[in-house]
Symmetry: C2
Subunit: 281 residues, 2 copies
Amino acid sequence: MKEDASLDDLALFLAVAEAGGLSGAARATGASVPTLSRRMTALEAQLGIKLFARGKRGYALSARGRELAGELAELHALRARVRRFALRDSQARVRVTAGQWTSRFIALNIAQVWTPESLWLPEFVASNADADIARREVDIGIRNRRPTQSWLAGRKTIHLRYAPFARAQGIDGFVTLQSAQATTPSERWLRATHPERIVTTANSARLALDLARAGIGQIILPVFAATGYPDLVQSGPDIEALAHDEWLVSHHDARHDPPIRAALDALYQLLCDETLRLTRS
Amino acid sequence: MKEDASLDDLALFLAVAEAGGLSGAARATGASVPTLSRRMTALEAQLGIKLFARGKRGYALSARGRELAGELAELHALRARVRRFALRDSQARVRVTAGQWTSRFIALNIAQVWTPESLWLPEFVASNADADIARREVDIGIRNRRPTQSWLAGRKTIHLRYAPFARAQGIDGFVTLQSAQATTPSERWLRATHPERIVTTANSARLALDLARAGIGQIILPVFAATGYPDLVQSGPDIEALAHDEWLVSHHDARHDPPIRAALDALYQLLCDETLRLTRS
DNA sequence: GCATCTTCTTTCATATTTGAAAATCCTGTT
DNA sequence: AACAGGATTTTCAAATATGAAAGAAGATGC
């Protein structure tokens, strides 16, 4: 061997070895059959090794060919790493902020609208302030009302329903957050309308949910959020005071930035999916 | 990135990264500077990443370029493996048989006459019989007498001296092998001439050596074999009865087979090296 | 300041590689 | 037996890549 064999030729050899012939390798790599024929012959000459037994029905790997294929298997991993490396740089992080149940919903279902090849990477950040979107500290907010500032752009998704849920019918009282943490409309509504029915509090929404599922009391949830918990049933009528339209909000100027555009479209599709978000009536 | 980047281009990138510029990489790879310029520009376009900061005095790796170079470092190992793989097939194993001390001497010093690019690979086999060479089961034997059969070819190397060695002057008695294992001339000589001076025995030559070094007794060694043990001194005069010429023996017909020819030449050179084999007088 | 050296980029003629088409050789089906 | 399909190799025109030469822009030394 006078010079190093071309790594591209070695990768083609690996494709031929795995496909069991030139035709399959041509389909897998996009190179033409005649090109593969020539490159394999040249590679054999360069290495000084018979890599194939050429039969009437195509190529069979020689023992030495099989060995070399084993040595080259890691080219797959290397290729994948380079691909990921390149993709990483071309994917923009899009910072998304939403309520706790909505964030959870998105995280659990994002695969419906997002792939590793997407133009954007979701990044969830904590923020409730429209000012953060205006300052470009947040790219997309999912809100419970139409944006009013002129530099924000909004797009309505669906109408959200709220209702009490419990482990079974007939459970009275409510579990809610401690008053220092009651920042959502549903928590505030409960304390404003039925403070005497609060039987216990928790320091996180998830803990409150666990208590409700344990049968301690009811919990007020957006209906879609309860869909993941078959052990909870709607224990009372919808709460019209809490029902609202949901809005996808972004900075007016950022809407045309391709990654943000892509993220807006994907999230809009996901949030409007009536099957995923409205399995209960 | 539409298609996978060429692995050859990635290897060129690595060369540029390591050389710190196109000129150095051109010297290292044999590709021309204009080609490298074009290929790096094309690679950047394909990956969608700025790999270099182009300055007045040449290329500087960007941070991303540095990262990618890190991902690609294993291409060196892969290249080396393919090279070795190709070489392996063109290297013949040459089976060599020699006495224990001579085998050890060759193993420790073979790098003086053998490289991974050599035509042959040394393989040490156990055998004392000239018949094995005749039968082609051994390619090269290192013997203590001239070959007598007509189908064997011999080449004299040097005259070997034998002497007693001990940890210090004044130590009497000898350490030797157990009589069932006394197959070498020195062991047989000792039992024939001074059986009463054997103070202890061991079941291997190496163990016997360790006992001598511990000060238990003297040991009879070829002089060259004692050179690796500065804690041993010659404790008596050379034993003329054991001194002999050393011969490199091979099958008459095999001498012209290139790998065997190469091995014979290399071993001849190594065994005749007076600095390595005769540091004591 | 000027000459020389170094490094990289671009142009252009030449060399090399590619894919479409044709040819060859099987195997399987009717 | 004839035909279709599959796999590979070879030929040839077109496409692509290459290296020599020229040019540009610094940096260095006298």
